[in-house]
Structure formats: C-alpha cells, structure tokens
Amino acid sequence: MRLLLVEDDPRTADYIVRGLTEAGHVCDLLRDGHDGLFAATRDAYDVIVADRMVPGLDGLSMIKAVRAAGIRTPAIFLTSIGGVDDRVEGLEAGGDDYLVKPFAFSELLARIHALGRRPAAQEQKTALRVADLEMDLIQRRVTRQGQPIDLQPREFSLLEVLMRGEGRVITRTMLLERVWDFHFDPKTSVVETHISRLRAKVDRPFDVPLIHTVRNTGYSLHVPA
C-alpha cells in the first residue's frame, strides 16, 4: 500500500516509517500539515496517517481540508492528547480511526490494514465465508461443516468482525471498539473471556482451529498455513 504519514516527531516518524517499510508498504513522510494537505490532494494514497499536533496546519484541519477537497482516502489520527473528546472530534473532522500515543506498532499496522483493505464503496455482503465456516448476515445464522452453531448476539458480532478481517490481525482494542463499543481499556479479561467462549463453539468441536491468538496484539481468523 502507499501511505502518507504526517508526523513531526523524528523518532516516532522514524519508528513508523521503518515498521511500515518492513511490512512491505511505501510510506511518504511529511512533517508539516500544509505539505501533508498538498501531498494528499496531489497523489493517490491508500491510507493517510496524521498526527493531530503538527506544525503549519494541525492534523484535524488538514483532514477537514482533504475531505472538503472531495478526497475520501481513509485517515487515521495519531494523538497524544488522549482526551475523551478526541475520538468524536477526529471522526467528525472526517477521520476514519484514531489511535492514542503511545501505541504499539502492531496496533497501528492492524488498523492501517483494516482501513486500507476496506472496499471503497462498502459492498453489501449478505454472507461471509472462511473455509468451512459460513455466516449468513441476513438470517444471522452461523454454520460450520453444515452444522449450525448457536451464538449469542454479541458472539455473533465478534465472529463477524473477525471474519470480515479474515487473515488480518484484529487487535484487542479494535475488538473492544467494534464489538462492545468500549472506548476505554477494561482492566479485566473481557476480550479473552469472550474469545474463549467463541472458540469453544466455533473451533473446539472441529479439527481445524480458525481463531488464532497473535501474541501481545490480538486475534486473527484464518485457515492455518
């Protein structure tokens, strides 16, 4: 993917660029909001990663301007403000996701992947399928090897998020946000508990496990390599 990073702190920028390059992406780094706006409107990027506090034009205004120019490139805000209103402000300005510093690189990467592969116009899928696991989104039914699996509504959402991100890492925080609408970090094993319940229903009765733990980061649903 071709990524645009607008970040003025050299060490953070270096860390991100190195990580993204290692992950096989091309990353353009700019240190100023005005330059970022110019680049974002001139070149086609897959994802924009913007720090909220950069010189020139701040990240929030930059993304607003990009959106005003009719460019729909997905954007992630990086913020060290960590404020309770940051998420809402970021999303209102036209951002698609936000991440509070300090963050784990794996978290950023997972979010970039989730945004970058999101189809441009969210096509209306009626069914999801990974190997022998099938999910009917209309009837809200799940079957594996043709056997129906009985899931609680929240377990269904959890599995849906994992299946939509097939093969990608979905972090613990992403699951909390997308499945439970938790925008804070619970101190108990909420995610672990529910994943283990889901595994008991989806994986345990069958030979091949599909839900995999990615150490220190999150989970991924795919056919084992």
């Binding site: 960590g82 509070v100 439970w180 609408d181 938790f182 804070f184 970090d185 108990t188 529910h194 220190n216």
Partner: protein, 457 residues
C-alpha cells in the same frame, strides 16, 4: 502586600457615604431655597398689602373732605410713627413737602423701593413705598423693610446652621458606616493576602447578619474551601504519583538494567523485554486514566450530552461481564425490568466506562463465589443504578476515601489496579449531576448512583 490597606479617602464605602452626604445637603439647600423664596415672596406681598391699605386710608380723607384734612391726617400718621417705621410724605407738584415726616422725591407712581438717611434711623434702611396722586398732590406711604429683612435673616441663619449641622452629621455618619464596612473589606483583603501567601486555611470572618458582604464573603469562603480541597487533592495525587508511578518506573529500570547485563553476556532478553513492555503499559494506562479524569472533570464533555435510556447501557455491561465473572468463579446478574425506560441526560460512552469500572472493582476485590448484582430502579425524580455484591465490603471510615485519586485500601495495595477506577466513577457521576451512595449490605458493598431523571418513569 500588607501595605495595601487603603486610606479612608480612597475607600469605596467612604466615597459612597460622602457622595450621599453631598447629594443630601444639596437637596436640603435646594428645598431650603425654595421655602425661603416662597416665604420672602409672601412677606413682600403682605407688606405691599398693608402699605396699600394705609395709603388708601389716608387718601380717602381727601376724597371725603379737603386739602387741610389731608395734611392733618398725614401729619397725624407721621407723628404716630416717631420711630420712622412708617414714613408719610405729601408734596405739591413742585416737590415741596406739605405734610409728613419725610420728603419723597423722584419716586415713580406705584410701588418702589428706596434707601433714605433720616435722623434716628439706622443708615441703609430700605423702605418700600407706594406713591400716588391725590388731587394735585403726591402722596407717598413708605414702610421700613427692616422687620421683613430681619425675619428673612433669621430664616437664612437657621437654615445655614441647619445645613452645617446636617453636613457634619452626614459626613460623620458616613465615615462611621464607611469605616465599619472598610474594616470588613480590610478583613477580606487581609484574608486574601494570607491565601496568596499560601495559607489556604484562612477564612473571611463572617458577622452572621446575612447582609451582602456576608453573602459574598460566604461565597469566597466556599471557593477557598474548594480551592484548598483541590490543592490538598493535588498534593496527595503528587505524592501518590510519586509512589505509584515511581514504583513501576523503578521496576522498569531494573528490568532494563538486567536486560543490558544479559546482552553483554549474550543471554536471551526476550523475557525482560516482555516485562518491560508490560510495565510501560501499566505506567501509560495510569497516566491515561489521570488525564481522562482531569478532562471529564473539566466538563467540556457535557456539551455532547444527549437524552438516553440507561436500561440498555446497564444490560450491555451486564452481558459483557457475566461471562467474565463466571470465568473468575463469581456470578453477575442483571435486573432490568423489560419494556421500561429510564431516561437521563448523559454520555453513553462515559456511563459505560463508569459501570464497567464499578463492576470491575467488585470483580477485582471480591473472593470467588461472590454474587454481584446490577440493577436499575426508579426513585421519584431520580434513576438509580445499583451495583452490589456480597463480598468483603469497604470499612465505613474508608468510604469517602475510595473516590480519591490513586487511593487504595491497604488491603488492596497488592492487587492489580491503578487506584483510579473509582475516581473516574466519581468524575463521571459528578459530570452527570449524579450522587453516589456507598452502603454496607452486611456482608458486601452496595453502590447506588442516582441520576436526575428526565421524565418520571
């Protein structure tokens, strides 16, 4: 700073008193002037009437008889007035006196005023005269104005003394009142000086009569109370940060040093790196929680409040944590009456976090086997959310403390947690105007958060 005691002349109350005294005296003088003018006009009119009357009495004798009678009447009148209080003059057309006790010369017909030097009369005595023609002669009747003037002088004098007395009274009274107010203002000023010098326990003395200064002083005292509570809180937080953040920072440093040592000897350090990461995450989450609480307390979030039903929020939390509790050997049950709505004005995200923190707090501090219960009830104008357990509870004397930042019961210092969970609960409740009540359930702890209801349920 203590030299800022204002001089009396520059004090607002004294200036006010002076202004009012000035206005009062001005009004007094003005009304006095009007009274004086009216009185003086009235006296002149009465004088004119008596002159005219006397003139008529004299003049009528001529009309009834003749010249000789007139002369003798004038002379009679003149002789009756040896003190020259009243003057009479009868002159022929050439101005020669025919009768009377003075010679009127060049006086116009009708009323006029003149001063005349006469033996036995104080100089400059003013006379009021009426002149008219009686046949071919001029008759003038003049009355001295000294009585009128004397009366006017008496009024003027008493008026002047009155003004002086009132001015003195107003200034003295004003100064007295002003100095009393000033003393209280000085009290406020010196309290503020004390506060600015760091004596946050200084309070403005109240008189207790409930006047405006007392009311303002009371408000200032309340603000000082809050300020000193905040500063105490800050001090405590600083001390706790020093302890609770320095401990993991120390550990982090030790881990890194050990990793550095191991690297030198070529050993594997992945264990140390994992530990270091966990420590730094812990430090970060503590900072995050502190920041979040500060931002919630700042209140900007209130602008995003919407009308919402707390029922689904409580149900969601109950649903999320029921399995977590079960895995932990505890139980969590949720009691929300179906098809009932509990509307409040609030922020869903913050309410979720508040409830999550309360439930997690119960999960963390209760032994296995504990039953935790989550419910919503309606209490008149309030929506009550209850989180109760049958665990060890919190000692009564500690109940206020648990909401303080970074505060942890000694018994829980060793269990994980930042000591910020309940502070955040309190911050969210305060933002919503909700009260939190902790009660002993013998055994266990009952937490009730009561939100102002939007509509009576």
């Amino acid at each position: 700073m203590s030299g800022t005691r204002l001089s009396l002349a520059r004090s607002t109350p004294f200036r006010l008193a002076l202004t009012f005294a000035f206005l009062f005296v001005l009004a007094f003088i003005l009304s006095g002037a009007i009274v004086y003018q009216l009185m003086s006009d009235d006296l002149s009119r009465r004088l004119d009437e008596s002159i005219k009357e006397t003139y008529s009495v004299v003049a009528v004798t001529y009309a009834e008889s003749d010249r000789e009678d007139l002369i003798s009447t004038v002379n009679d009148h003149a002789q009756l007035n040896a003190d020259k209080e009243q003057l009479f003059s009868l002159t022929d057309q050439n101005g020669n006196r025919l009768a009377g006790n003075f010679t009127a010369s060049d006086l116009p017909d009708g009323f006029s005023m003149f001063a005349v030097r006469l033996p036995g009369v104080p100089p400059d005595t003013m006379y009021r005269a009426y002149t008219g023609e009686v046949g071919d002669k001029n008759l003038t009747v003049a009355f001295s104005m000294s009585d009128t003037e004397e009366l006017e002088n008496i009024v003027l004098m008493s008026f002047g003394w009155g003004t002086l007395f009132i001015t003195g009274l107003a200034v003295a009274g004003g100064a007295l009142l002003a100095s009393r107010v000033q003393r209280r203002l000085d009290g406020i000023a010196s309290t503020m000086v004390d506060v600015s010098h760091g004596r946050l326990d200084a309070r403005i003395p109240l008189i207790g009569n409930g006047d405006d200064i007392d009311a303002v002083s009371g408000q200032v005292n309340a603000a000082l109370e809050r300020l000193s509570a905040l500063v105490d809180g800050m001090r405590e937080v600083s001390a706790n940060i020093a302890h609770d953040l320095k401990t993991p920072l120390n550990r982090l440093q030790m881990i890194l040093e050990s990793a550095a040592d191991k690297t030198v000897s070529g050993e594997d350090v992945s264990g140390e790196l994992t530990d270091a990461r966990a420590e730094s995450q812990q430090i970060n989450s503590t900072f995050d929680a502190l920041l979040r609480i500060a931002q919630i307390e700042a209140g900007a979030r209130r602008a995003r409040f919407v009308d919402l039903d707390v029922g689904p929020v409580v149900e969601t939390i109950g649903e999320v944590y029921a399995d977590v509790a079960e895995d932990d050997g505890k139980s969590l049950s949720t009691k929300v009456v179906p098809d009932t709505k509990w509307y409040i004005h609030g922020d869903r995200d913050l309410l979720m976090q508040m409830l999550a923190n309360l439930v997690e707090n119960a999960l963390r501090h209760c032994p296995p086997g504990t039953a935790i219960e989550l419910s919503v009830t309606s209490g008149g104008s309030h929506v009550l959310i209850h989180v109760s357990d049958n665990g060890p509870g919190i000692p009564a004397e500690e109940r206020e403390n648990v909401f303080r930042r970074l505060y942890r019961l000694d018994t829980s210092r060793t269990t994980p947690g930042s000591g910020l969970g309940l502070s955040l609960v309190k911050a969210v409740a305060d933002l919503h105007g909700a009260a939190i009540v902790l009660e002993d359930r013998n055994p266990g702890l009952g937490v009730t958060v009561s939100f102002p209801a939007l509509k009576p349920a």
